[in-house]
Symmetry: C2
Amino acid sequence: PTQPRQARSAYFWLHALATLVGILVGVVGFGVQQGVRGLTLGLYMVSQEILMQQQDRFYAGAAVFVLVSVAYALVASGLVVFVSPLAAGSGVPEIKSYLNGVHIPGLLRMRTFLAKAVGIMFSISGGIICGREGPMIHTGGIVGASVSQAASTVFRWRSKLVFLKYFRTQEYKTHFLAIGSAAGIAVSFASPLGGLLFVLEEAATHWYQYLSWAALFACVTSALLGGVLRQLAFGNTELLNMSFFGSQVGMASGSSFPLADLPFYIIIGVCGGLLGGALPLVQKPLTLWRFRNVNTPLLRLLEVALVAFMTNLFRVLIPALGGTCVAISSLDFLREQGNRASFNCPAGSDQYNNWAVVVWNSLEMSLQSILQLESPDAIPAGSLVSGLVFYVLFLAWTYGMAIPSGLFLPSLLIGAIQGRLWGILSHSVWTSRSDILVTNYAFIGGVAGLSGYTRMTVSVSVIAMEASAQGLAFLPAYITALVAKFTADMISLSIYDLHIFMKRMPYLEPRIMEPNLYFTTHVRDIMEPSIRAVYTRSKVRDIIQVMQDVGFGSFPVVSPLRETHMGNGGTGHEYSAPHRTLRYRDVSKARRVLRLTRPASNGDGISPSENENGNDISSETSLDLVEGHSDMRRKHSVLVPGGDYKPEYVDFAHHALKGIISRRMIFALLRNVSQTACDAKALDDDNVQMLHRDALDSAWPNQNKASHESRILAAVPESAMDLYLDLELYLDPNPPLISDSALTAEARELLRSSGARHALVVYLKTGSLVGIITRKDILPEAIEEVIQNREKPARAHGS
Amino acid sequence: PTQPRQARSAYFWLHALATLVGILVGVVGFGVQQGVRGLTLGLYMVSQEILMQQQDRFYAGAAVFVLVSVAYALVASGLVVFVSPLAAGSGVPEIKSYLNGVHIPGLLRMRTFLAKAVGIMFSISGGIICGREGPMIHTGGIVGASVSQAASTVFRWRSKLVFLKYFRTQEYKTHFLAIGSAAGIAVSFASPLGGLLFVLEEAATHWYQYLSWAALFACVTSALLGGVLRQLAFGNTELLNMSFFGSQVGMASGSSFPLADLPFYIIIGVCGGLLGGALPLVQKPLTLWRFRNVNTPLLRLLEVALVAFMTNLFRVLIPALGGTCVAISSLDFLREQGNRASFNCPAGSDQYNNWAVVVWNSLEMSLQSILQLESPDAIPAGSLVSGLVFYVLFLAWTYGMAIPSGLFLPSLLIGAIQGRLWGILSHSVWTSRSDILVTNYAFIGGVAGLSGYTRMTVSVSVIAMEASAQGLAFLPAYITALVAKFTADMISLSIYDLHIFMKRMPYLEPRIMEPNLYFTTHVRDIMEPSIRAVYTRSKVRDIIQVMQDVGFGSFPVVSPLRETHMGNGGTGHEYSAPHRTLRYRDVSKARRVLRLTRPASNGDGISPSENENGNDISSETSLDLVEGHSDMRRKHSVLVPGGDYKPEYVDFAHHALKGIISRRMIFALLRNVSQTACDAKALDDDNVQMLHRDALDSAWPNQNKASHESRILAAVPESAMDLYLDLELYLDPNPPLISDSALTAEARELLRSSGARHALVVYLKTGSLVGIITRKDILPEAIEEVIQNREKPARAHGS
């Protein structure tokens, strides 16, 4: 919310940018898919077609296959280890936490994007048990966040377009991250609604209705573009015959879901839940072990090499030992490009290895086969069982390694395998029925697996419905997903939450799981009563001291009561009647919109008289009224004299709260101080410009070395140390407020739903500030500690 | 949020209640459908089969048909006029407003429910151009709200179950209203996701993520139950062969949507938007005319009779004059039960009147025919054009009459007719293509019509996808819906918003349409600086005076500063350190949960020592600390002596804000006063009970005559007038707060997203309360007025 003119067109630009995000994510999604296709094509061409399928060259082919796969995996892992550690895993826990309000430095950087997007191609091609959907959520999110900022620290580029500045806030960055993530899901599964619902179900906490529709715009664009590009890549250039997009995870056509199958669906859901619930149980000790033992780059690479070697060895061994070559029946499907199930059967013989279909193919193609081969005998139960064991064990081992790897596709596949097994059972015992389709069972199984592993229900069902183009599939899918989720939730935390918990991110769950804590404590119990604040006018030296002392992200800004209102003998409760403060009001307005050029100057800002509705305010009157320091303010808009910083905590009984200022803003001001303080002319010249908005935006301390916090502090020259910094113009006069007698649950809801990282606590009776709460204060652990501390003195007293 | 024990199981009970809502709404939806079926069956049996299809009895049949239809319509209208005026129309504008935070008395009453549910059966059977979907949203909402309250004023029944009390708040009532509305959509269209998205798109403003999943529970239950009941009603008792549910708005099987049709879809979207945009243009003068001229019960009934007569006359005339009898081709569809297209063709001849198919059938059956008859020649263009004109004109005339009537089905039908017309055109000019399906065009047209009339996009597309069981339909439907919405929005306000606007409900749009107003004004400009407050202890006489003087829904509660903290010589800024106020804190907790029985009494409440975590507080200490009035409080928990009410406005510089109290709570207390004040024993007895929660809940002044506000006031006996009422225990100590220097846009967002009806304005520097803002203060009209008033003195000064 800055200027009326921008706000008016913001709705349009929001959708335009969302569409741009959709286009970019669609292209990235298509690119990743094509990358995988290219890398896999080469690998299978050499190892399978040139070697394995020829006489006596099976072992050579197998060796080439395993070694090249390990090499691919090492490339992927190298990108994680040496380029960006945040590219490891699926990225979903990190994206969830970021959207929840947790700041994760480096999560959205260009190098993370590159490591993730390129890395996932190599890890999939390297035969690692993983999919590209989770990483697409992460890369899509990065694309979204970058588009909203229209700037790149790598390329040192910032768009100057006015409408883009509107979105250059932390809030919109988060919103666009969510939009990009949704588009990532949409392009992976050709599921625009699924993308939207994923964000609604899993990700967004601070969210507006209108953002949903912008997100859907992005999802539709990316899914449509991804679909069209895919069709074109496969040579279907005749757009006339191209449907909007084909089904991604295909399913037998014309299926319906008879109610009689429902008991089996529930069993499938329970099994999916058990499998998904078991993973975190294995992962927890494994991850702890990794924290302790696999902590050097070399060891992390070695682990990946070992896992890749074992995975691919089994992918060769299982079909070689268990499978037999079977003639391809009437189904054209198995002749499709990308299907490698012919394995070592003689080339051109139209046969396929009935065990290779599950483990030798790429995960995506295996899933397709399991979902589409309608004959119950097409894949023997032994092949399914061996595949199930193989995927479950290796997924548990793989997840959490230093390699980009998504969880969605493996869990879909594992679920579909167990679903198909139940289908075979149902088909063989319930012989009187003719409407049992093992493909339907596999489909339901896929939903159960995905839901069991990820603990999502609605988005999983919608994705399944859209990906299979089956309008009737939602209801049975949803019921199964619910069963799977509840089963898994009884066993363990979700794998995402486990990783969030183990990395100690201050994540706030959508609902309160510990009402004992949140409904029996009050804000005054958990708040931090000792507040570090800064004065409206502070010495540069003092401010630097505060910044070095504390790492908080925001600081209340105060001024001593005696200086402002106590001076005229009042009790501190005086309030000028609203209609007397017309001019003051307009200055405050100018402050809000950050048009900080000096009024009536001919700088590139807009003078206040330009865009107020009819109130013509001269520069003198509008500045005169701010606390009487107009003279100094006019000369040095940033540096003015004022009170000294006291190193002890502020006593709010004798200070008036003016607002809150972010650390980012303070650093921007300090950087500006360094740049202007040495310039005597800038300090004395009557034409000095106030800090421009761009200077604020670009000064955000980030990974870019030039703007590291310590560098900014060090760059402040000694000559500026005794000058005064006036923060009045740059503070936020409307911080989140909460009463000290509010329940902790209410404070939690305030922070969670607003995405704020802190709230000021106000004592209603006198209105004075009495504390501050942050996200960390309302985590269950913190409250438990408070309660325990409270009980200790009580017991000591009682004994 | 009341007690930890309740909060813990709340999530479970939320879903249990949502499922119950789903079951009830599913049954109601099925009941309404069966009611329509029965009434229609009788009407057509007599008029068509017994009379019209026989030799020489055509005119008699037509006369019977028209007259019985008019009689049906009069029954429906009578229910509106004499039973509940709020049963008129679709109810969607009212539900939207209620969910937005506007209180509409009587909207959720039992008699409104009955009038709407029974009325819509008769208005549909009476041939009125309307559907049951909108009314199902309303009736579903009533069911949802009633279930959450588990009480009925009509039956004088209140459930005593503890877990239900948790949901007995205004907030949950609103949430369950939304859940019920979603279930209403779900059962009408067999579209659970569509129901959820309808609520997300159109209805919910103050909404939590977890409510979405409860709503989906309700939607799935109602859709599934509705589907199963419908199948059973049609005799498909063999559940084995029953799919989860069949498509409701059927469509040709196996359709896909070629990209080449996209230009036509866009044209269809534009036409749908034009039709939908034209309706409010006609409705505005018509509604104003109705306000002025059709304002007596008799006139309203007469208007309905006239419209019903004309509508049904044309329904007979059009096929009689234009249509010819055609042999039924291979399609079994036209032989279906409920299809009356045989009109006057000889009985048993297997012929149908090709114009009757569009206007003579029920709207639902006409839509089915248009969506499913694949041959382009099955319905001639002339029939479609006459139907289009007929439906568009009569819909415009009908909507807004005193009769329950939904807009969804007519707009779907109108859209489908125009879509099919474009399909016929496309088919005849684009002869080289074989993949043009007029049914697809009709489907897309239906989406365009629904979106053009209702201005929804996402939910319309999802409903269309689910109702047609076409997984691929979402994307083309969404694109068309967007085009239709934008076209229609360029022409006019939506018909719902028009009616909301004309009824002057303080509805807050999801986004700010007038940034000029909201980003240039501050809370201090628009707030009401003169606040009517009540003292923590006030004379009953004074409180009654305030209640009679002002109609506000909430009042700040204050106490004079000198009494509380000024007494010990401070400046009003003292704040007791948090850890000193342990006992005080627990009282405050007791206050929050409304366990207002006297501590250590053996009443049915829980004494404070019971459920705190380990802090054993005796009754004396816990009460001693509340401002030192413990003696009086112990004797008369409700009535205590205190300061007098001063009729002038409160000066907040000398008063401390304690919290906020709702009008509802004050009336509950006053009613309690009347009941106890006459009983000398109750006043003096040491065992007097504090006000029980049930007494608060049931005292809400509503339409029920016994609890009208004026009656409660009148019932207070003179002997109680000079007693004092202690409000301290009943106030909300955490009211919504906002800084006076916040932008109006921020205040708007606060009210809208929290569903609050007011916020207290705090002057940050001193923390004192300086004003209050309500919903009405932040309507665009109110802000415009403020700005104009501000400019006037400025101009006067300048001249």
